[in-house]
């Protein structure tokens, strides 16, 4: 699958991208998956639950480490990518497509949530992890 909308990134390496109206896909960045290495397990967020910006919504575990996933904006979970229950490696192989984590309703528009666009995020990553 392909996610076509504009991507917004958080400093904690999550992204969201518009599907329709105020519905967005949510995932973790290519940089985040490459830092984690082989992903073995993900705790998906609860469908229907509302999360504040910065609130923990899940956990990703790789062979070597565990990392938390935070809500990049205030949001409500519409559906989760249940393929990840059996194939969490999709996050490694296709972090911006079939490795998305959930579909969410943004309760505050990403433009008003202090997120970065792709170029800004890429320079953020290269400056803070050089």
């Amino acid at each position: 699958m392909t996610v076509n909308g504009q991507f917004y990134f958080s400093e904690s390496h999550e992204w969201i991208s518009k599907e329709a109206d105020n519905i967005f896909y949510l995932g973790i960045s290519d940089f985040a998956q490459s830092e984690l290495g082989d992903i073995i397990y993900i705790t998906l967020p609860d469908v229907g639950k509302t999360y504040q910006k910065g609130e923990k919504l899940g956990e990703i575990e790789s062979v070597k480490s565990v990392s938390e996933i935070y809500a990049p904006v205030a949001l409500k979970i519409i559906s989760v990518n249940s393929n990840l229950n059996d194939s969490s490696e999709l996050i490694n192989t296709d972090p911006y497509g079939s490795g998305y984590i959930a579909r969410v309703e943004a309760l505050v528009h990403p433009d008003e949530s202090g997120l970065m666009d792709k170029n800004t995020y890429e320079s953020f990553v290269s400056s803070s992890h050089a």
Partner: protein, 393 residues
Amino acid sequence: METEINKKTPLYDEHIKLGAKIVPFAGFLMPLYYKSIIEEHLNVRNNSGLFDISHMGEIIIKGKDAGAFVDYVFTADVSKIEPDEIIYSLILNEKGGIIDDVTVFKFSENEFMAVVNAANTQKDFSWLHYQQSEFQKKGYDVDVSDVSEKIGLISVQGPKSRDIIYPLVDEVIKIGRCGFFDLKYKPKPVTELKHFEFSCVLFKDINVEALISRSGYTGEFGFEIFAPAKETKILWDYLLKHGYLSNLIPVGLGARDTLRFEAALPLYGHELDETINPYDAGLEKYLSGTKDFIGKAALKNVKSKEKRLIFFKLSGKQIPRHAQRILDENLKPIGCIASGTYSPSNKFPIGSAYISDTNVNPSSLKNFFIDIRGNFEKAEVVNPPFHKKGKST
């Protein structure tokens, strides 16, 4: 707080060129993985892998009384092995706690080499140096030196390892120098080496002479190659260039850990430390019954095991981690995780733990749980190893 400056092995620049994810480990900047721990792990089980383990320490013990010295500081019968053999041993403190686990190479009656864990090189050397002074005071002739920085150590592991090593080496069947080392016996042809034997080879084209042993830390057939530090890079590049001979790929410390753990090989800091005695760790077979060694007297007072090491697998997907709690069926804490990881060969999480509750009989432990960040994950005792030797399961 991390204030120490991490050292680099002679292959650091090669790891960067290969795109490795670098992490600090035991005071060194080491490759955790190049592409994927799982892919690298499975390639070692099915084909072969190339490891930089130059961070490990090498301590040379020589002198007229080196034999008596190694028998005193190491728990195994070290002096009795043949001068082309290796023996696994422990170093214990006076209380019987494990200072380190090592392999010891015998070069001659007067010269031995201990290969020690990177994290313990300084500690081991200080300990052995102190024991050397005590020996010298009594008039014995023994000298201990840390040569770790002069030696690069490369490991080739996996069922196809021989397909790359045999064609690339010429035998060096002569008494005398072997790269960094001095051999007082005629080495065997590499093709005749059995497990825990070593020899000397000359790598063709690049003209690098190195000590080579049939040993490793993966549970697979393999070799460890001790080359002079300044020739390690050329040897690494040479082996990678001929990688097609055995489907050889570079393998990082991540897979080194999952491989050693599937093979149930202990790791210092996890299964072993100074609060654990050899009985706890199930390593009593490495204690000599015929000679005295440091720690032996204290071990006489160890009536029964204080802790017992078990191995287990999980039915869930979450990975157990070092120091997490083991709970019995009533959720009462009975022990702690030593190692926990994901088994790429079996595709489920596995671990080891010390059961410290002496009322618990590990063999009859049926339902127990691991407290993984507040989730109680069901576990089951398993007899290791977790892999089938020579092929992936």
